[in-house]
């Protein structure tokens, strides 16, 4: 048994001896034959790598150990057909340090000069494997033998790489490193510098860093688990078709933990100066500076990047503070999540040196980028993100507005395989309160919901989108218009597509409306190419009840200013069908507005119309044109119409609309008590501007007076009214007429002229006219009136009559009797008393004069002449008959009668006093008060 063991040990020793002897012999052989060693190395490496490896010149020495090689060349074979390496000169001074079993291979000096390294996209680069297999038993034994007999570790004391060059060509990017210089100092510090250029030719992107510098902070040791280095880059540039960045500077403190395989950076400072953005066909943006500071850790095995805090600053604009997590999983190679903790917005200050920053702390604002099922997904989520405050801070909303609300939003964009994107988004504002500077636009407790989804096709490129808006809850006010959104919510929806290159918006469906009030539908196209802007929209209002729209948009907003509206009762169904076009800033709207089965009534004004069917033609345009032959035709029919002074009647007429005009081309015949009047044709021009004008005419053909005035005058009046007012012009709120209306009554004529009005559409219109009185029979005029009977013939005029608020405001009156053969000139006692009271304010029959009233009931007169005027609420009444220094209102007859003499030449009476006097004398049954 012992013998057997001894034999085995002896055999092993012999084998070991032979092996060592063989190894020693081999080493001795190669030491003495460098060319053989060179050939051996070339073949070994070529065989193991499958490439052509050659060394032009190799020399070495043992004591000291020094190796020098020139012209090292690695040419890739078929398998590694993308790798080229060339080293012009390499020198290594090596020694072994330490006791046997603890020796280290020390590169005392390593120098590589002029090397070039090229990797093309065809080569398969080594993959990072998350799990490492344990070495085999033989491998472990061999490694232990090498560690025992040769060296346990390798150390570099000093090294230098100069004039290196590396190019790496990948699938979609080229990386070029030039002027590579690397130094390993005796303190084991490493310095690397190079010129770096990375290009993405397909995307026309390039990044150039002319001065990239890496230095380690402490000696590199394979036993120390950490390598600390500092990375700096200066004057780097980044170019793309849209973005141009120059002056990029970066400093980063990097720590690589060998044991954990983590790279931590604490912190990284990135400066981007003079960033300019450029969009196609647009000017470059003003340059701005970007600054990014972050710290974090990159776990290589787990492929996780965690930056617990980063600061991004866009100078004079924005500061962002947040967190970043990224996971580069093999199945989902990209998963980046950014959480924004703080947004700082630079505010304008009156002092140039002062910088003010408004800070917003969003409750939850997250950006997420990742790959899901091989699709690139972008998600943005926010809750209490202060969207409105941000928009205000960025001056995206008008200044002076105040807002408060809770917001939440969500956007998901997915990049499709063909390069297109699809997106869905939601935006909610709850409890929104807002108002502008003068409180003319405000909302309280408003809820806003917006949803949008669509597709972006980058090939076309085209955006197809659907969007909906709903504003319910709360209340809103805009100027005079108020809406309770709980009852009448605002809703809108959009469906359309936008062609980016053609700048063409196709609106296939648009709806805007207020629930239970009104809805507007639209579809059409909008092209906004420079110099060729076109809009074509078809607008329609579906049939809806007029009452709610009238109440919300007319009655409630304007009833304070126009109290008459409160008495107006209005009903029916309205609808509209319009075409809106715009070409190079020339707008045009044409179509029809309909009102079916309409009704208007104002009970206290005796106004009532029923069965209104209106098809109102509309033609509005901003372009100035001559009158057009083309018209839009419409009609108006009223089944029953009752107007003050008009009998009940129906009406039917055609309407024609031209550019900014409306016509009734056929005359309109209206029944009046005692006959008919003919109005029109009517032409309205500039009807959509404040300078609206109306041109029409009015013809009255022998209308009998009696039925016409039967409701006004107690006494029947026989006669006729004829006349023609042509034209009747309404311009700038002023109505003017040419022509006269002749009333034949009381054996004479009353000619009305200069009929008109001013301030027609204001709260205080003033109506104007003049009247010429010729040969009026006073007996017929006064018989049966409370004024008292007068006989005779009267001539006169009332000029410049102005009537406001139903009362005379101004006039100049002259009334004189003219003698006529066969006509008596007699005045009753009552009339004398009334004239005296109006003219002087007191009855002439007082005292002794009163006794005459017992004897006489009427008196002859020679002349009655009165001149009166009203202005500024002051009446002035005088007699026209001046004789012997007296001013007679009534001059008695030659032999008898009563003189009424005006004793006060400045006979002015206030309006309210005159009203009292007139009321007194016209009171039924009133008569002279005999004292």
């Amino acid at each position: 048994m012992v013998k057997t063991k001894t034999k085995i040990i002896l055999i092993i020793c012999i084998v070991a001896f032979l092996l060592i002897a063989a190894l020693g012999g081999t080493l001795l052989y190669y030491y003495s034959h460098p060319s053989a060693l060179k050939e051996f190395i070339e073949k070994s490496i070529s065989r193991s790598t499958g490439s052509a490896f050659s060394i032009e010149k190799l020399s070495y020495s043992i004591n000291p150990i020094k190796i020098h090689a020139e012209g090292i060349l690695l040419d890739p074979g078929e398998k590694l057909s993308g790798l080229h390496l060339k080293i012009s000169d390499i020198t290594a001074e090596i020694c072994l340090e330490g006791k046997l079993g603890h020796k280290s291979l020390v590169f005392e000096k390593l120098k590589i000069d002029r090397f070039s390294f090229h990797v093309s996209q065809k080569i398969r680069l080594p993959q990072i494997r998350p799990e490492r297999k344990s070495p085999s038993t033989i491998g472990r034994v061999f490694a232990k033998l090498v560690a025992f007999f040769l060296f346990r570790d390798i150390r570099f004391q000093q090294g230098e790489v100069t004039n290196g060059e590396a190019t790496i060509q990948l699938k979609d990017q080229d990386i070029s490193l030039k002027g590579i210089h690397a130094y390993l100092t005796p303190d084991h510090l490493v310095e690397i510098s190079c010129n770096t250029q990375i290009k993405w030719p397909d995307k026309q992107l390039s990044f150039t860093a002319p001065h990239l510098h890496i230095t380690t902070d402490q000696a590199i040791s394979f036993t120390d688990p950490e390598i600390k280095a500092r990375l700096t880059a200066k004057n780097a540039t980044f170019k793309s078709p849209d973005v141009h960045v120059k002056g990029v500077a970066m400093t980063a403190k990097l720590t690589y933990n060998l044991r954990n395989k983590t790279l931590s950076f604490e912190p990284v400072d990135l400066n981007f100066e003079g960033v300019t953005l450029k969009q196609k066909y647009k000017k470059k943006s003003s340059p701005f500076d970007l600054y990014l500071k972050t710290e974090g850790i990159f776990d290589l095995p787990q492929r996780r990047l965690n930056a617990p805090r980063f600061h991004l600053t866009i100078r004079d604009l924005l500061k962002l503070t947040g967190r970043l997590n990224a996971h580069f999983h093999p199945l989902n190679p990209l998963d980046i999540e950014i959480l924004i903790d703080e947004i700082g917005v630079y505010k304008k200050s009156s002092l140039p040196s002062e910088t003010r920053i408004e800070t917003l702390r969003p409750g939850n604002l997250m950006f997420k980028f990742g790959l899901e099922r091989e699709q690139f997904v972008v998600k943005i989520k926010g809750h209490k993100a202060h969207l409105i405050r941000s928009a205000l801070a960025f001056y995206m909303l008008p200044s002076g507005w105040q807002f408060s609300c809770l917001d939440s939003f969500e956007l998901t964009a997915i990049q499709k395989q063909k390069g297109g994107w699809s997106f869905t988004s939601k935006l909610d504002f709850q409890g929104m309160n807002f108002q502008n500077a003068d409180s003319s636009c405000a909302g309280e407790d408003v809820s806003v919901h917006v949803e949008a989804d669509g597709k972006l096709d980058l090939a076309t490129p085209e955006i197809i989108a659907n969007a909906s808006l709903k504003i319910d809850k709360g209340e809103i006010l805009y100027d005079r218009f108020y809406l309770d959104l709980n009852k009448n919510s605002l809703f809108s929806s959009f469906k359309g597509s936008y062609n980016v290159s053609g700048k063409n918006l196709q609106l296939s469906g648009f709806r805007l409306g207020f629930k239970n009030i009104l809805t507007l539908d639209a579809h059409g196209t909008f092209v906004h190419k420079t110099g060729d802007e076109k809009l074509h929209l078809n607008l329609s209002v579906p049939e809806t009840s007029l009452k709610p729209a009238f109440r919300h948009f007319i009655l409630e907003p304007f009833q304070t200013e126009k109290p008459l509206l409160t008495a107006l009762k209005i009903d029916g169904k309205i609808s509209a069908d319009l075409e809106l076009t715009c070409k190079n800033k020339d707008w045009e709207v044409s179509g029809h507005c309909m009102w079916h089965d309409g009704r208007i009534s104002m009970d206290d004004k005796g106004l009532s119309t029923e069965g209104i069917d209106l098809d109102l033609p509309v033609w509005y345009q901003t372009r100035k044109t001559e009158t057009s032959e083309d018209t839009v035709r419409g009609s108006l029919s009223i089944r029953s119409m009752i107007l003050p002074f008009f009998p009940e009647q129906s009406l039917a007429l055609h309407l024609d609309a031209g550019p900014n005009s409306l016509f009734v081309k056929s005359p309109i015949e209206l029944k009046v008590p005692g006959g008919t009047v003919t109005l029109g044709p009517v032409a309205g021009r500039d009807i959509f501007s404040p300078g609206i004008s109306l041109n029409t005419s009015l013809a009255i053909n022998s209308v009998e007076i009696k039925p016409l005035v039967s409701k006004i005058l107690l006494q029947p009046v026989q006669g006729t009214i004829t006349g023609r007012l042509d034209p009747i012009l309404l311009e700038h709120n002023t109505l003017k007429t040419t022509g006269v209306i002749i009333t034949k009554a009381f054996d004479g004529e009353i000619v009305l002229s200069d009929l008109g009005a001013s301030g027609m559409f204001t709260s205080s219109p003033v109506y104007k006219l003049s009247a010429l009185l010729t040969h009026l029979n006073l007996e017929k005029l006064t018989t049966g009136t409370t004024f008292g009977k007068i006989e005779g013939i009267l001539d006169g005029h009332i000029n410049d009559i102005e009537i406001a608020y139903g009362q005379p405001q101004k006039f100049e009156l002259l009334l004189e009797t003219v003698p006529e053969e066969g006509v008596r000139q007699i005045i009753s006692l009552k009339a004398v008393d009334n004239i005296a009271q109006i003219g002087g304010g007191a009855s002439p029959f007082r005292g002794l004069a009163g006794s005459f009233t017992v004897l006489f009931k009427e008196f002859p007169y020679n002349k009655i002449g009165v001149i009166a005027s009203l202005e500024n609420d002051v009446f002035r009444i005088n007699g026209t008959n001046r004789k012997g220094g007296k001013e007679y209102l009534v001059e008695r007859g030659r032999f008898s009668g009563v003189n009424i003499v005006n004793q006060n030449p400045d006979n002015r009476i206030r309006f309210k006093d005159m009203v009292k006097r007139i009321k007194r004398v016209t009171a039924k049954g009133g008569g002279p008060v005999i004292k």
């Binding site: 909302g443 108020y482 200013e561 205080s764 003033v766 406001a804 101004k810 500024n872 002051v874 206030r910």
Partner: protein
């Protein structure tokens, strides 16, 4: 020669300045009368005549005596007061509206500006509908005031360019 020219230029400039300084534009504006009219109109609208109730018997006697002595003058003033149907109608409308606006004046939500028009103050505490109604009241009141000032100018034959001055005179009365 040069000195002579300089003197001539100086004289020309001075003469030109003298001519322009002599140009005056006269615009008739009877301030006292407008003040009186404004006082009367605003008193009517605001119903301030009740203030005489506390007049003593002695004062009444004095008034009557003075009225007897200067009755003709008083009558003349009465007749020349500025009024017409438009002014009367505006006054009536404004009087009725003042009753609606009075609570808001008391709460400080309305204030009288120096320009003769009402303006909205802090309307906090009012609902939007109430704000709308109050704004409508203010707008309507201001439109009527503009009409009133225009009518007063017309009645008093004051140039329309002076309407703002009339409004400023009225402002003092509104602010009382």
């Amino acid at each position: 020669m040069k000195n002579y020219r300089k003197t001539l230029y100086m004289a020309s400039v001075l003469f030109t300045l003298l001519i322009f300084s002599c140009v005056t534009v006269n615009i008739y504006f009877p301030a006292e009368k407008v003040e009186s009219v404004a006082g009367e109109i605003v008193d009517d609208i605001r119903d301030r005549k009740g203030g005489d109730k506390g007049t003593s018997l002695k004062d009444l006697l004095l008034q009557k005596t003075l009225f007897a002595l200067f009755s003709s003058n008083a009558w003349a003033d009465d007749v020349t007061a500025v009024s017409n149907p438009t002014i009367r109608a505006l006054k009536e409308k404004m009087k009725a509206r003042y009753a609606q606006m009075k609570p808001y004046y008391q709460k400080g939500m309305l204030s009288e500006g120096g320009n003769g028009y009402v303006s909205l103050g802090n309307t906090g505490g009012l609902g939007l509908k109430e704000k709308r109604d109050l704004k409508n009241l203010v707008d309507t009141e201001n439109k009527d005031r503009a009409s009133l000032y225009r009518e007063v100018a017309k009645a008093m034959k004051i140039d329309p360019s002076q309407i703002n001055r009339i409004a400023e005179v009225f402002a003092k009365e509104w602010q009382k």
